[in-house]
Symmetry: C2
Subunit: 375 residues, 2 copies
């Protein structure tokens, strides 16, 4: 993509919410900040706004780059920009860092006004419902009564779905990509390994590591390594790394033998260098807890009856973390309720991470759907 | 199974080997012990001996129980005994703890005669080839020139296969269960996460934790947790645990919410309480390194041309760690060499762990094959 398809230089903005927010856990935050970015222009009748919800490690920085750091490109820049599938010449796009995050919105690393110290372990567990509630207040602040679309992949897709249930009248289209109506036992199990890696790291200090001048980097690194395996497909790992040796010979020790080991260590180290461990814990819990059918005796059809939006669901054939089968469950439940649903199962070998990639078929589907949205 | 189908009370035996063994790594062990058990009686012409090779966490204690600990039943007791598929009325069965193990054979926790301290980090990495070599010496010691059969599941299956390549004339039948001719990148990746959990545990002390009076229990626990997820199938986890809550309510903290979390923590804690972390490291390396086609330019057909045994291969439909596809690769390569091969793909929902279970179809196949072996 040439520069004319980039939103260019962007700046994060900050909204402060002084009204207390009651969370699903029963806890209350007296006040909070949300950091967000916007691309494109809100039209006169405020009908072209699109909210992009982020997944586990994402942020409000969805597209473009920063003036002082041109290499820091938004995580969904291949999708969002002038002439791109989510066309900023047509839409006003909003990216927001979720509550509990570590990119500027109020989270466990923020100063707790009640103590003057970082929240740490005192930061409450937040849920997908809480995020939707906090995002709805941001929408109010921005004067957006109804989103033309809410889009998210993975955990972001859960937020798009939850929006359609919690505020049906505020969502015209929900794009739920590589997502699921709830995690499986295996999904929860992988999250639990990640959490235990963090929680049992001696540098975790019960979540109050900020005061000790350390971070639980070992645990966070392991969490990312195991997570990363589940984001890729077995096939793709085989094609990309196979059994290729880093230095051509077996070393008979515990240094790197295989390229895949080097790759995983690199991914783990990089992540542990910037992400907040408490945010990781909170976010995996939000994933585990999400289950809109819970209050309907497990009946997803009943749970989705509230939605009035039109839907696009997309899944990827090699995604074993959020398999196509899980998207189909949502499709069936929505069709049962006579909702308008488009569904695409994209043949892409990149596993769960496919939703972040510039796959031609995938982007064609997204572009066509978004093109047809009237604003 | 009633008692008459048990081998009853058994006792481990110890064989000392004073001849140095040259390992694949280039290192040499000046001497070593192997601990083993035997069930049934070696017949007069020594033609009824069966070697059972163990997988990652197994041992020489394959069947029966100990007089002073009746609850310590062998890990493959459902398969091995009088009238069982591996019938000890017919066969003389040998189980052996592998070199580098932690159940009595010489391993990283053993005293290094050169220093008077535990080997720890000085214990060399050993390979499947090394195990076969050390087991061959045990066979010599027991007067077994040729095994009627060598049987193993998972990593044990790799040993059975390697025996058929390294000593074709000493193996009449190789039973390779839930195994693979080499690990995939994804398999190696999971092993690497497990190793990194151990290696970065502050209690690991570079492998010399014995001298510090600690064990890297946190790392070993995580290693087991992540391993355990891969031993079970997604389906079975869903059926057994699903999203069942331990105490009926979400806790909004990092205690146990879901049953699967409780189960994994229990498995991790239990394992970390008795298994040796260095043995875990060594054993995962043996898994990663196994690749008999490596010396044949990756051509498995060429690699297996040396084998002259008859083969039974068994895989399980829901085993995603050692998928049926991996067994089929071996079947095709053996058939290409005009070897006699039986292959069964068992419909069992228990994932990789199926090979340890008393599945009727599986045991029927094993029993029928073993029944037909002439001794």
């Amino acid at each position: 993509m040439s520069d004319k398809h980039s939103v260019g230089v962007v700046s994060p903005q900050r909204a402060h919410f002084a009204e207390p927010i009651q969370l699903a856990s029963g806890a209350t935050l007296a006040a909070y900040d949300l950091v967000y970015e916007t691309y494109g222009r809100l039209n006169a009748d405020r009908s072209n706004a699109v909210l992009v919800c982020h997944a586990l490690s994402g942020s409000h920085h969805v597209a473009g780059h920063y003036a002082d750091n041109p290499k820091n490109v938004g995580w969904w820049d291949n999708l969002v920009g002038p002439g791109k599938p989510l066309d900023t010449d047509k839409f006003f796009v909003v990216g927001v860092n979720n509550l509990g995050g570590c990119y500027g919105s109020t989270g466990p690393g923020s100063i707790n006004p009640a103590t003057g110290k970082p929240y740490g372990a005192d930061f409450p567990v937040v849920t997908v419902e809480d995020w939707v509630e906090s995002q709805a207040r941001l929408a109010d602040r921005l004067g957006i009564n109804q989103w033309a679309a809410i889009i998210g992949g993975s955990l972001g897709g859960m937020q798009a779905l939850q929006w359609s249930l919690e505020y049906p009248e505020r969502v015209r289209h929900a794009l739920v990509i590589a997502s699921a109506p709830k995690l499986t036992a295996q999904n929860i199990a992988f999250n639990e390994v990640a959490r235990q890696a963090i929680l049992t790291d001696p540098d975790f200090h019960g979540g109050n590591y900020y005061e000790h001048g350390v971070v639980p980097a070992r645990g966070l690194r392991l969490a990312r390594m195991v997570g990363h395996i589940t984001y890729l497909s077995d096939d793709q790992m085989g094609e990309k790394f196979g059994r290729q040796l880093r230095e051509g010979v077996l070393k008979y020790n515990y240094d790197v033998d295989f390229e895949i080991e080097s790759y995983l260590r690199y991914q783990g180290d990089k992540f542990a260098g910037f992400f907040d461990a408490n945010t990781y814990l909170i976010t995996t819990k939000a994933l585990d807890y999400f289950d809109p059918a819970r209050d309907f005796g497990g009946d997803l059809k009943a749970a989705l009856a509230r939605a009035s939006a039109k839907f696009l669901l997309v899944s990827f054939t090699t995604d074993w973390r959020f398999a196509p089968e899980r998207s189909r469950e949502m499709v069936y439940a929505l069709l049962h309720n006579n909702r308008e649903v488009s569904y695409a199962e994209i043949d892409c070998n990149a596993g769960h991470d496919s939703f972040l990639l510039d796959d031609a078929q995938y982007h064609a589907v997204m572009g066509a759907y978004l093109h047809n949205i009237a604003v």
